[in-house]
Amino acid sequence: MSETVNTVDPAEVAKFEAMAAEWWDPTGKFKPLHMLNPTRLDYIRDQIAAEFDRDMNAPAPFAGLRLLDIGCGGGLLSEPMTRLGATVVGVDAAARNIPVAQAHARQSGLEIDYRHTTAEAMAADGEQFDVVLNMEVVEHVADPAAYLRACHDLLRPGGLMVCSTLNRNPKSYAVAIIGAEHVMRWLPKGTHEWSKFITPDELYALLEGAGLDPVDRKGMVFNPLLWSWRLSDRDLSVNYVTTSLKPEG
């Protein structure tokens, strides 16, 4: 574990640093993420509750679970997971996100351990978690295979990882690059590189290559008429989310 491979692409980090202060403005630059967030949270919540047999009507249903939020940004996932009772570590490769996230957690009266570090460095330190959230990160890293191996190492045996990303096909190019960045201007131009997008089959192969068992995949579909997101069993053509488990022992 002495060798740390840094898979963070510095150009990607710089782009997000410029956007960090906007994280918590629901009508600001991160509006699309705020719109997507309930759908992501529903999926994450259901997967964790099912795997760890938690009753969501209990006061702190995720109590006792240690959870890592990779690419925590302003804390859009770390805060809800903390409210549900998990012990959360949020990490981000962009240094500027950390004080933003810390300030917001303080305002919300939440205790969250935010760190400016990377998944690879955490794995090298031997940190382990029951749950790893790996949301909209893998399409931004330089070496997805090495990155997912680090994620594997960060899980306890029997642990669960939720990983979402963008599919690579003509539709995702039209929707995520032309639609979201150029037409709607939801995201700054250059936020995504389409060539880094990963098909669900490719992601499954990468997850298996990293030693994980992929067990579930769902599409996250935007409805422009209702202006809302939903989960889909069949439509994984643009945004999609997966769950995988680290085998016991």
Partner: protein, 426 residues
Amino acid sequence: MLSTPAEMDNPTTQAIVQAMDMQDLVIVGGGLNGPALALAAAQAGLRVTIVDRLPAAARADAGFDGRSYALALSSKRLLGAIGIWKDVAAQAQPISKVIASDGRPGEGASPLLLDLDAAEVEEGPFGYMLEDRFLRPALLTALAADDRITQLAEADVIGQSVESGHARVHLANGDSITASLIVGADGRRSGTAERAGIGRMGWEYGQTALVCAVNHARPHEGIAHQFFMPAGPLAILPLPGNRASIVWSERTAKAEELAKGDDAAFLSALRPAFGDFLGEISLAGARWSYPLNLTMAKSTVADRVALIGDAAQGVHPIAGQGLNQGLRDVGTLAQVLADARRRGEDIGSPLVLERYRAWRSFDRAALALATDTFNRLFSNDNPLLRLGRDLGMAAVTAAPGLRRRFMREAAGLTGDVPRLLQGQPA
């Protein structure tokens, strides 16, 4: 790089301690909608405090409010889901049929009727009549029995403030309550809305509703009648036994005169409008009067504030939709908050409140417009309008599809219906 003890000193520890006794919801107003929301929210696992300036016993007194409610089927289902319906079912009168007709004193009802029969919708009766004197105590009893809910009576709210991550309600006795969200269920002159800087719009109708219950000689067979008189509508709504609830809207000057007069004078004025189809009538209990106005909050939400019931929209009681609208607010807000809690979201955040605002906005606007238009159209003796509305009602009566649609709308069964209003937990 774990947090050191130094990083976890006072400010953070204080925040955690505060979070321990912090409420999710503080509801201002212990009438009908406030307690209904308190029960629904507590059942969904939210920590709730409800405050009212009056003692609970005064609110539960049978003489507190003389009205009866025409509960839509969706409202009945919500009351079932929060565990209230079983306590009031025996006192509720199913409405089997609604007959609306155009009347003029001395001429009787127009031959063209709007005739809605519950047998035409598969859900059964499309509403129930229930007197306030049964509903209000049932809600307050359930509230007192629920140990998940903190109830503060005789508590005057004198201020509210929003601080980072939470809101605070200040009481006259110097206490304050901290919560993620303040819900204003404090009626048409909502102090919660005013303190949040939410303006209101509305107007007086120049009408006053005279409300009472009458005994009548012949059975009503569950039929609700609405006579549209030039000065305002007269509703004759069936109550258990040979009794009916009367809501008689008159021009305010005339209504005040009738309200001041004795029972005999009131009855002799009522009889010609009422007609003799239920036989001889007599008063069953006290008489009340309510000036009619429409008052809508310009928004249902503000920073860490949400409004429900009359605080959000106090409508003309012409279609009996006031409480039904309030319970739609309750069902919608309870579901939005329950969903947010199950995701770990901040239930008082603008994102969560926006879902409530957006879900209710169309309904609110449509209702205010419809009841107002309905009233202006029908409280009129213009012969052309009279012919037009007669034909309109006849058209609704003649077209079965239109009629069913109208009934389902009145029963609260259309649109994106919150789970509680379908009789399921939030």
